[in-house]
């Protein structure tokens, strides 16, 4: 579903002299984009300042990248019930600054998104306070307890775009089987955080030498693969559309690869953290790097990057999870899992381009095009008629992440003081400017 962030028709606008990167066409070329009535009216080398109709405001991009806005499939927005951690206003401000023009909210809020009224609440709050498109993910099971199927049909009608239990897994295979079968009738997308909670136990970081040296209980890679294996068998049984919320190990990648080879309707995501960080970054108990699933070994990280380049992994998510000081300034084992990331996802992802592991169109494909395809959204591509959700950035522009300058209400970034490249300069949602950097580099939110 799409709805306008702003009810008024946005003014026309043209972005010219740009490096157009299209995740759908897997290519890049020079040219411009003409935006009329909030949609892309023309795109390509023929869109130049000289060729434009009179009266259209023109932005000379000076060779910067212009591409489709990012679609982040896993964001915790704090509403309802955790407004001390994040609000829709702050989360979407961070998203706009990070070039994310559509985000899917996690359903494990307080109360959880297991009733149509909560979906409606989210959409209304997004309309009134949001800056980018917000799409609710509703709960798979009532109260996220993993026992009874949520009202999938009613939630879909209310505007939910997918179903997930957030950071909880559906433990009971019978429940999972039935809900997949039921979801299939509605062609609903199930997004599952596949983790065997018994194997996780009291684990807090990746199992292995690092955890053992730090004296921390480990989480084996198998905790993920065992559950994913089960899920794929149930997908095979039911034919439901299934998206693995977070895949972080080679074992899981192999499960997904086999499922795709068998022609099952399976897709998966990994997080920007797992693609760009490893367990050594935890150092001496840095709790901002405590995420779930845990950061893995460097070999695993490299294998994930490779799987992404191959297309076995479809999507990159930020897994944005704001945690305040009270839940993070604790001994590692007691601290909450989670890191913010919606604002730094693009720049962190560009590390993979700089390192030569990924082409820029491939990165954009995972950050924008594939999410749109999986969710059936019209955005995520540079095509005539698509909504003008556009971003502009210079992939070579260096900057240092300052956690105090991020727009989230919480500061728990895994990238504090990291040297990254490629700050977003301009973000358009449906042709409206929702974020722009001034000449002096100051963030300007509309």
């Amino acid at each position: 579903m799409t709805y306008r962030v702003s009810p008024e028709t946005p003014p026309p606008l043209a972005l010219v002299n740009a490096r157009l990167v299209d995740g759908a066409a897997d290519c890049e070329r020079r040219g411009g984009v003409l935006v009329l009535d909030g949609d892309i009216a023309a795109v390509g080398p023929e869109v130049t300042a000289a060729a434009l109709p009179a009266g259209v405001p023109v932005i000379d991009c000076c060779g910067d990248v212009v591409t489709s806005g990012l679609i982040d499939m896993r964001v915790f927005v704090g509403e309802p019930g955790a407004e001390h951690r994040e609000t829709i206003a702050s989360a979407t401000a961070a998203a706009a600054a990070g070039g994310v023009t559509t985000l899917l909210t996690r359903p494990d809020t307080f109360p959880p998104v297991d009733e149509a009224a909560v979906v409606d609440f989210l959409l209304r709050r997004a309309r009134d306070t949001g800056r980018v498109r917000l799409l609710p993910t509703a709960a798979l099971t009532k109260g996220l307890r993993g026992e009874e199927i949520a009202e999938i049909g009613l939630l879909l009608q209310a505007g939910a775009v997918a179903f997930s239990n957030g950071t909880h897994s559906v433990r009971n295979a019978q429940v999972m089987r039935r809900l997949l079968a039921y979801a299939r009738d509605f062609d609903a997308l199930t997004i599952h955080y596949a983790v065997d909670e018994d194997l996780v136990g009291d684990g807090v970081m990746n199992e292995g030498e690092r955890a053992s040296r730090l004296g921390l209980a480990g989480i084996p890679r198998e905790a993920e693969a065992v559950m994913l294996d089960r899920d794929i068998r149930l997908v095979n049984l039911t034919g439901a559309r299934y998206h693995a919320a977070l895949v972080t190990t080679t074992l899981s990648v192999e499960v997904i690869r086999a499922a795709k080879a068998a022609g099952l309707p399976v897709t998966c995501a990994t997080s920007i953290n797992h693609l760009t960080l490893n367990e050594n970054d935890i150092g001496e108990y840095r709790t901002f790097l405590k995420v779930a699933p845990p950061l893995r070994e460097e070999d695993e990280r490299l294998a994930l990057v490779e799987a992404l380049a191959e297309g076995v992994i479809d999507v990159i998510v930020s897994d944005h999870d704001p945690q305040d000081v009270e839940t993070k300034r604790l001994p590692f084992a007691e601290a909450e899992f989670g890191a913010i990331g919606v604002e730094t996802m693009l720049s962190a992802g560009l590390r993979l381009v700089t390192s030569g592991h990924l082409t820029l169109p491939r990165l954009i494909r995972a950050l924008s095009t594939r999410p749109a395809e999986i969710l059936g959204l019209p955005q995520g591509r540079l095509a005539v008629g698509a909504p003008a959700d556009l971003i502009r950035f210079d992939p070579g522009e260096p900057f240092v992440v300052n956690r105090k300058k991020l727009h989230s209400r919480c500061r728990n970034t895994a990238f504090d003081q990291a040297r990254l490249e490629g700050r977003v300069k301009l973000t358009l949602v449906g042709g409206n400017t929702v974020f722009a950097l001034s000449e002096t580099g100051e963030a300007l939110l509309s």
Partner: protein
């Protein structure tokens, strides 16, 4: 910050958070200093003045009789004022009080805080927040550096050396901070370290930590110079790591029969408190090869050495 020192410090660390990060030279320095402290502790006049006027706080979030009294005595013998704080953990969740407690104590201007906490890394967290020196008296399954030092001192005094000795650490390696600190210190000092335990009680990746790994006592004890038993953390056994205490004692408990597989002059050690009849038989614990009581004596000496070494870094030290 630190005042300029009149002479170069011989122990270049402000805190003692773990054995990790210490060089063999640092360890030897501490052991030599502890050796002197043994002499002091055996005199009638046991008092020294190197910490006179200094305040030492024992902050124990986890109960301990042995380590706490050992630090208390060490501090007092060096002339410090010692305050013991056992933080009640009933009403508030442990972690929530940690930094608050640390800041409160910091405001009282102590010179050294000795900390024990049930969670790994808690002592690092606290050390980042306070202005004084911090000594780790055990944090979760991470490290217990003074235990490793007292074990090393006990071994060195009995064997005259550490280098080249075969040390077998036996039992619940997974949950043991003593094992981790000892693996680091004894390896750094040149011993050949073995660990012996059932697979369910061995941490992942242990074979990459410079030790030989054995699953059977019979194999691991052969030719050992030192047999170091670990306490079976019975309170941590609810997850079903072993079938029963009876079975554990049969296969992993140190009795005379198993001890006979080690070298005839092998020493038996245990960090205490012991579970007699679980990981160690009474006849072995009280037998001629046991050095368990000597370990306790060395504990005080080692803690005196650590406090004295850190006092070099105190303001006006």
């Amino acid at each position: 910050m630190l005042e300029p020192l009149s002479q170069k410090p011989t122990f270049p660390h402000r805190h003692l958070l773990g054995i990790a990060g210490l060089s063999a030279q640092d360890l030897t320095f501490l052991l030599d200093l502890a050796e002197e402290a043994v002499g002091v502790s055996r005199q009638i006049e046991k008092k020294r003045t190197s910490l006179r006027g200094r305040t030492l706080i024992n902050l124990f979030f986890e109960a301990s009789t042995r380590t706490q009294s050992s630090f208390e005595l060490a501090g007092k013998r060096l002339g410090a004022d010692v305050m013991n704080m056992s933080v009640a953990t009933s009403s508030v969740k442990k972690g929530e009080t940690l930094l608050d407690t640390a800041m409160t104590l910091n405001a009282m201007r102590p010179d050294i805080i000795v900390v024990r906490h049930a969670k790994a890394g808690a002592v690092h967290l606290l050390a980042n927040e306070v202005d004084c020196s911090v000594v780790n008296a055990g944090d979760g399954a991470h490290e217990h550096p003074t235990q490793a030092l007292l074990d090393a001192l006990t071994i060195r005094r009995n064997k005259g050396r550490i280098e080249g000795l075969v040390v077998a650490i036996c039992g619940d390696i997974l949950h043991s901070r003593v094992a981790r600190s000892n693996i680091l210190s004894l390896s750094a000092l040149g011993a050949r370290v073995r660990v012996i335990g059932p697979s369910t009680l061995l941490p992942a990746g242990i074979e990459n930590m410079g030790v030989e790994v054995f699953r059977r006592m019979e194999e691991g004890l052969a030719g050992a110079d030192i047999v170091m038993m670990l306490r079976l953390q019975r309170e941590r056994m609810d997850g079903g790591f072993i079938p029963s205490l009876k079975e554990y004692f049969r296969f992993y408990g140190l009795d005379e029969e198993k001890l006979a597989l080690a070298k005839p002059d092998a020493l038996v050690m245990h960090p205490g408190p012991m579970n007699r009849g679980v990981e160690i038989a009474s006849r072995v614990a009280d037998g001629p090869q046991s050095r368990i009581r000597e370990q306790v004596e060395m504990g005080v000496a080692v803690r005196m050495a650590v406090l004295e070494a850190l006092s070099q870094h105190l303001p006006n030290g």
